[in-house]
């Protein structure tokens, strides 16, 4: 149990996906203009990261791993297999959502495709393999990573809503000031450094 808690703390605070691991920077910068969109993104990321962890773990261990169904070491196919599975899975969900729950689709679904081509999802899948997590750990890790992403995104959106109305020098307007802010936020997060050893 403590193992899981430490895993969560580590993924959320200490090794925050965005602020210390640099994964998922594009959506972090891209959808942090308005709180509404940011929250939508968070919901979508929570869902996709958790389920992608599960799906890719299964694919890896059943098809690619030498101890799996195939029985051959196909681990080098992980990149291509993961991206294929994630992309299809996400699109499947999006299609289903669009049809069955248009309202939810309007608030969360539009972010789904965005996440496909995003380092966070692919990153979590690869890290699960690299860190040799068990299935349950992988799912928890995916979820915690998403929480970490959401936390960073929500805080950052709050900051950006303030900064977007500030008067930075012209050269800094736009992404530049957002990056500096993200840097300062990441600096503050260094307070959690090495908290879970």
């Amino acid at each position: 149990m403590t193992g899981y808690i430490l895993l969560i703390i580590s993924a959320v605070l200490v090794n925050n996906f965005v602020l210390t691991r640099f994964l998922g920077i594009c959506p972090f910068l891209g959808v942090s203009r308005k709180m509404g969109t940011a929250l939508g993104m968070c919901g979508a990321v929570l869902f996709v990261l958790t389920s992608a962890s599960a799906v890719t773990w299964l694919v890896y261990h059943f098809f690619l791993h030498p101890d799996g169904l195939i029985g051959a070491d196909l681990t080098y196919l992980q990149t291509i297999a993961f991206i294929l599975v994630i992309a299809s899975f996400v699109q499947l969900v999006e299609l289903a959502l669009k049809k069955t729950m248009p309202r939810l689709h309007a608030s969360l679904g539009i972010f789904l495709p965005l996440i496909t081509t995003n380092c966070a999802v692919m990153g979590v899948a690869v890290l699960n393999v690299q860190l040799e997590y068990s299935f349950s750990k992988a799912v928890v890790f995916g979820f915690a990573a998403a929480i970490g992403f959401s936390l960073a995104l929500i805080i950052f959106t709050g900051l950006r809503e303030k900064i977007d109305l500030a008067h930075p020098p012209r050269a800094f307007q736009g992404v530049a000031i957002a990056l500096v802010t993200a840097g300062l936020l990441s600096l503050a997060f260094m307070g959690f450094a090495n908290m879970v050893n």
Partner: protein
């Protein structure tokens, strides 16, 4: 007759320097009729009145010269006899352009047309009295100048149970209401009785700040033997903006006007003491509203005083009646320093809502040299509506009107407490005044678009 204290404290408030001593002991003096009167057709809130006289017409005192153009509108009457010499367009004290009638006065002619006095008002139907108030051109004299007959005819689903007479006069410098309550307490008491009759209400609060003991005494005396009504003189602490309608309702009755609502939503009607007096005059004597008491004050005014002047008197005339200035004025404010409007020159003329004329010398003029908001939170403390002025103005400044709206900018009563305390000297109220019309327009357009679909 009872005397009470405020039920609760104002949520936010400030204590500016009052300077009421300049004029509080000066009895109301009537001013000689000036040569020309400039009567703006937009003396009240709502649609401007429409002139019914032509250039060259000769009019007598009390004659209607402009008629109301709708329900929320009141007519305008000639304050004195004279000749119409021009009908043009000019800026009102509020800075907007409106049609204007210029009257060359004939001080020697004391002829007057009045309406028939309704001294037996208690036996007449309420509708007749309301019509009379409307015909007499009575509009609120305490603030926005809202046509009084509208306030006195609430829709049937909004029963009124309390009348609040606003004698707070919380604005610094001004003492017109103060003097009115001292010198015309009887008339005011009559007006109160008439309002009670019209609205069929018993419970009346007369709200006065405690820095006006004489007025409190006078009103107590005048109401002492008022039969059939349940009058209370409510003594409020001296705090700005105690006189603002919503705040006053809260401190006297404990009720809170819902956001976007009106006093009548909580069963109240608030009238300024001047308005009440005007009601009494209109009904009992048949005299339309053609003059008002204006406090002409400031440290540079030679003899600051409370002047009873006909509507349309230019500020220049008022100043010269008060003996002129001892030093050059740097700012001229129509109204009090907290909510009044700065004037570009002295050519502007008084209206039904001109409660004061404050002239400031350079050293008393606050110059806005705005720094960014440093987030000190003082404006939050000061805001009687409990808004977050800092955040609203930040949003307006950044052009994010949607956020300003979601921060409830529309609840702001523009009292100025926030800007008064802001150490960054931010023009907070100006931001709100700038954004509010645009936001209202936008939501109206949105509503229209919705309706169209």
């Amino acid at each position: 007759m009872r005397v009470t204290r405020a039920l609760r404290k104002l949520r936010g408030s400030i204590h500016p320097q009052y300077f009421k001593g300049l004029t509080s002991d000066c009895p109301i003096t009537e001013m000689p009729i000036p040569q020309k009167l400039y009567l703006s057709m937009s003396q009240h809130l709502g649609a401007p009145a429409k002139p019914i006289v032509a250039k060259g017409d000769v009019v007598t005192r009390g004659q209607c010269i402009a008629e109301a153009t709708g329900y929320i509108s009141v007519p305008i009457h000639a304050p004195v006899c004279g000749k119409i010499v021009d009908i043009d367009s000019a800026a009102t004290p509020a800075g907007t352009m409106a049609p204007r009638v210029v009257l060359e006065t004939d001080p020697d002619n004391t002829e007057s047309t009045t309406m028939s006095p309704l001294s037996d008002w208690q036996d007449r139907p309420q509708e007749e009295l309301i019509t009379r108030i409307s015909e007499a051109g009575v509009a609120g004299m305490g603030g926005a100048g809202f046509p009084t007959h509208v306030k006195l005819s609430p829709p049937s689903d909004k029963p009124i149970d309390t009348i609040i007479i606003n004698g707070a006069e919380c604005e610094p410098y001004l003492t017109a209401d103060h003097r009115l309550m001292i010198e015309h307490s009887k008339g005011i008491a009559d007006g109160i009785r008439m309002m009670c009759y019209i609205l069929n209400v018993k419970s009346v609060f007369v709200a006065i700040e405690e820095n006006k003991p004489e007025a409190i005494q006078a009103m107590q005396d005048a109401l002492a033997n008022a039969e059939k009504i349940d009058a209370t003189v409510c003594i409020l602490p001296t705090e700005y903006p105690q006189g603002a309608e919503k705040q006053q309702i809260a401190v006297t009755t404990g009720r809170e006007v819902p956001s976007g609502g009106l006093p009548m939503d909580v069963g109240c009607v608030v009238e300024n003491v001047g308005t009440v007096l005007a009601i009494a005059e209109a009904i009992e004597k048949g005299i339309p509203l053609t003059q008002r008491v204006t406090t002409v004050t400031g440290h540079i005014v030679k003899s600051p005083q409370n002047v009873l002047a006909p509507l349309g008197t230019t500020y220049a005339d008022l100043v010269s009646f008060c003996g002129g200035l001892t030093a050059e004025a740097a700012k001229v404010i129509s109204g009090g320093p907290m909510m009044g409007m700065a004037q570009p020159n002295l050519d502007v003329a008084t209206t039904k809502t001109t409660s004061g004329l404050v002239l400031l010398e350079q050293s008393r003029v606050h110059i806005y040299r705005a720094l960014p908001c440093i987030g000190c939170g003082r404006c939050l403390e000061a805001c009687p509506m409990n808004l977050v002025p800092a955040a609203i103005s930040y949003a307006v400044e950044g052009g994010d009107y949607d956020r300003a709206e979601s921060l409830n900018i529309l609840d702001c009563i523009e009292c100025g407490c926030c800007a008064f305390v802001c150490p960054s000297s931010r023009p907070l109220v100006q931001h709100f005044k700038l954004a509010k019309p645009k936001i209202i327009l936008k939501s109206r357009q949105a509503a229209d678009a919705k309706g169209a679909k």
